[in-house]
Symmetry: C2
Subunit: 363 residues, 2 copies
Amino acid sequence: MNKDYYVVIMAGGIGTRFWPMSTAACPKQFIDVMGTGKTLIQQTYSRFKDFCPAENIFVVTGQAYREKVLEQLPGIRPDRVLCEPHRKNTAPCIAYANYKIRAINPDAVVVVAPADHVVLKEDVFGQVIREAAQAASQNDWLITLGIKPSYPNTGYGYIQFDSEEVCTRFNQIKKVKLFTEKPGLEMARTFVESGEFLWNAGLFIWSLKSAMRAFKTYLPDIDELFAAGMSKFNTPEEADYIEKVYLVCKSISIDYGVMEKARNVYVIAADFGWSDVGTWGALYELVPKNEEENAIVGKNVLAYDTRGCIVNVPQDKLVVLQGLEDCIVVEHGNSLLVCKRSQEQMIRRIVDDVAKRKGEKGA
Amino acid sequence: MNKDYYVVIMAGGIGTRFWPMSTAACPKQFIDVMGTGKTLIQQTYSRFKDFCPAENIFVVTGQAYREKVLEQLPGIRPDRVLCEPHRKNTAPCIAYANYKIRAINPDAVVVVAPADHVVLKEDVFGQVIREAAQAASQNDWLITLGIKPSYPNTGYGYIQFDSEEVCTRFNQIKKVKLFTEKPGLEMARTFVESGEFLWNAGLFIWSLKSAMRAFKTYLPDIDELFAAGMSKFNTPEEADYIEKVYLVCKSISIDYGVMEKARNVYVIAADFGWSDVGTWGALYELVPKNEEENAIVGKNVLAYDTRGCIVNVPQDKLVVLQGLEDCIVVEHGNSLLVCKRSQEQMIRRIVDDVAKRKGEKGA
């Protein structure tokens, strides 16, 4: 275990595509979507337990989720839970963590990971992360992890690597040519067929020095906001200062703000059973299915003439399904969703309608 | 309001076809299946509130349901709730009530009604019942109500009336030729086409004297069991005595034991929006439906691309349905059912499976 290694878990998401399991009050990262007994943030946290000392793990989240983080991660040091007063996408989140870590260890090598992704092959993941951290500690590289695409997913960003340029010492690590946003289906097909594109898993590994240099170069305004308050970090004035920073700070992703612009970006092509489990459909692909192709979380689910369904209900709930095909059946809290898997994009509209309805009732 | 009029509400059913709304712990009669805010037994009770004094209304039920009856019918006199120690079908239930009423008023005219049927046209029902009671008070007739069949239902018993014989003073009342059990579909079609058959609604109106005479004639063994304990009724010894009676008493329906055999059986053909709401499908036919042919009970149900469904969920439950067709969606207590309407006969099997599952878990 390397004491210079640090992890920043980004846990500020408020995604609604997993409604009704995820809600603004309890987003996806705090939920056991896989039915394993562990929430996604718990899985993410434990994924790094052999990588670095527990006190080197930071979680960046919203003030509203601080208690949830402390409750779900009993091993975390409370002062390692950073609360963003406003949601400003990933770049400010990482800048904040960078300055906090710099006050402790300027020689840190930092892994930045989303709290709400799934990794099925933990051992492969561990190897890849260690290799990346080693490379980052020795080079001024911004390293990202790219997933070998299994099909033309249009919901992911893609990373094109340079197949010519070989890093002699780290032969799995390739130079990045291009970061792209979510492509259309045709484009995604071309990407996958080319063999030069990887899914952007949103995982970054770099030395703190390289990261701060990149911010200074590509996002100087954000860097200056945090730099100006350096004396206030880890003092009672920090919260007030951060509140002011976030009020004026622009909202921008690390991909768009840094990775797409920097010249020293590298990628490790890896296959560790990764998914951002961005939708019920993505989760369905990921989890084990029974003979009838049903993926069921819930101990008291009886299914008759039911195929291709993803079911996620409380363990003690008795659920009887008959004659359903390719459906999502989810109960959480006081809400129930039954929806065709093919129509899961409806969920966003549904959540809007639900919010409106609540607004009307409240009015 | 006639002080000689009495009502016996039979509330001993433990039907499972309305699972998960109805369970052995809370059968259909104690449930608000229509979503009107009143349970079926409450609707039944209030249907007779202008017919006779409240103290003349009896409910016969199982010991397990006594508290439920008292809770749901705050107007009932506690000593009017008769508890059967064992389920022995309708004949013993009626015999027990007969003896109880005889101790109070030997000149009673009694209406016997199931607790769990629906009547949509309450005013027509009231008129028919009053006419029947008047006829019963003046004649040694066993009167039953027959519903003009709207289609060849194979789940009901049928009553054939004699279209020749006319009761001059009560021209709606017809002599009964035949009581039959549930017919096959072909037979049911013939019945309906003949114009001589009515659905057996399980409602009986007779003078106490006529009823007791019929029991003495056609079910003398049952009658003797109750007659032998006459001195014990309305004393502390009643419960023990009734326990003994029910241990030895045979289980038999009033239809099979009396109505099919007696010669003085009459029927009033009526149309008061009756249903025994024996299944979710029957309930679906009965209740109002929206433009998409959905019948929804529940204040927070959002339906998208959903047609022909019957939905019954707790008022505060948020339920989102998408892409469902001709389904039953019911949540009650800790159980949820989603089932094709056409497959509702599965519910019986499902309930058995659920019971088995519980048995296994308990073992």
